[in-house]
């Protein structure tokens, strides 16, 4: 995002955007919007969705279907919870304090935003 912003500012200074402030503003807004969308899409592609993995797993076992034993094997081979917990620690959203795992302020802010939205739409379905 910063690289894109720098590019737009440089192009604007050297006249490639006609030296126009409004053009630079539009280009910056476009760059930021696409960057955020790319970040969202990239995260969704990079990490496995448990639901999608489950769907592909069931598809692989057609037409016989999946038994509970096979499902247990699938769960053991796909440690989604631990993988995401590791990601949260790496990204600085969760802190290890001795044996305890604690959510950091950035994590609280994200949850607050999502909770406000869920309250607004009166959503009370179980998440996760």
């Amino acid at each position: 995002m910063l690289g894109g912003s720098l590019l737009v500012v440089t192009l604007s200074i050297f006249g490639a955007l006609g030296g126009s402030g409004p053009d630079a503003l539009l280009a910056l807004a476009l760059g930021w919007s696409l960057s955020v969308a790319f970040l969202m899409a990239n995260t969704a592609i990079e990490t496995d969705s448990p639901t999608q993995s489950l769907v592909l797993f069931l598809h692989a076992y057609r037409p016989e279907g999946v038994t509970d034993e096979l499902l247990d094997a699938f769960i053991a081979e796909h440690p989604f919870r631990d993988s995401r917990l590791q990601g949260l620690v790496s990204d600085g959203l969760v802190d290890r304090q001795g044996e305890r795992l604690v959510s950091r302020p950035a994590g609280h802010a994200l949850l607050h935003l999502l909770d406000v939205y869920r309250q607004l739409i009166r959503r009370n379905r179980v998440t996760g």
């Binding site: 409004p22 053009d23 503003l25 539009l26 807004a29 919007s33 696409l34 969308a37 969202m40 899409a41 990239n42 969704a44 592609i45 990079e46 990490t47 496995d48 969705s49 448990p50 639901t51 999608q52 993995s53 489950l54 769907v55 592909l56 598809h59 692989a60 016989e64 279907g65 038994t67 499902l71 699938f74 769960i75 081979e77 796909h78 989604f80 919870r81 631990d82 995401r84 917990l85 990601g87 959203l93 969760v94 305890r100 795992l101 604690v102 959510s103 994590g107 994200l110 949850l111 935003l113 999502l114 939205y117 869920r118 607004l120 739409i121 009166r122 959503r123 379905r125 998440t127 996760g128």
Partner: protein
């Protein structure tokens, strides 16, 4: 000035999108997230078209207006996509659910306490139950069967994108054909031999 007006149009359309989705969910389609997101997007799109028409009329035809409009449209689409991703994260993201569990106690949780509240098998079985509930999966003689073609198409598209972008089919380093590998092997790990006729 034209650029600023189109930027405002994209921002306003995004706001209409979010507000319409919230209102429709609250007042008419409670619990039905996907249709309300679609209605929100269509409402925002209608608002965008209306505002762009006003800009075109106000500033008259010029060489730049189509490019500026295209940029504003991309901003609206990217914003809407990000909104959908954020809503989806609030509903089903494992990371968000872990954060919710940790927030439930001010002193946080030990790994054991987190296991009790949100283990790997809990999160997968919650999803399985949800898919059964929505008839995307049916249970036939004790076996789970996939019944949703659209879900399979979406999952396959994501898997293909992962393969193209990252060169893997899953994040756990499993072989791409691990399911069929397991299916075709006996319990002791050897390939299953089909008896010849």
């Amino acid at each position: 000035m034209q650029q600023a007006c189109l930027l405002l149009a994209a921002g306003s359309a995004l706001l209409v999108n979010v507000v319409a989705q919230v209102l429709v969910h609250r007042m008419a389609l409670e619990g039905r997230l996907v249709p309300t997101l679609l209605i929100g997007f269509l409402s925002g799109s209608a608002a965008f078209v209306l505002m762009v028409a006003l800009v075109w009329i106000s500033f008259g035809p010029n060489d730049d207006v189509p490019w500026h409009t295209a940029a504003a449209l991309l901003i609206y689409i990217a914003g809407s996509f990000s909104f959908v991703c954020l809503v989806a994260a609030g509903e089903t993201s494992v990371r968000v659910e872990i954060l919710r569990q940790l927030r439930s106690r001010t002193t946080g949780l030990t790994l054991r306490e987190l296991d009790d509240a949100y283990r790997n098998d809990i999160l997968i079985r919650t999803r399985l139950d949800r898919l059964v509930e929505t008839h995307a999966i049916r249970i036939d003689r004790g076996r789970y069967q996939l019944a949703s073609k659209p879900l399979l198409i979406v999952a396959s598209a994501f898997q293909l994108a992962k393969l193209v972008l990252f060169g893997v089919t899953n994040e756990f380093g499993l072989p791409s054909n691990w399911q069929s590998r397991d299916r075709d092997r006996t319990k002791d790990g050897h390939p299953e031999v089909t008896p010849k006729a």
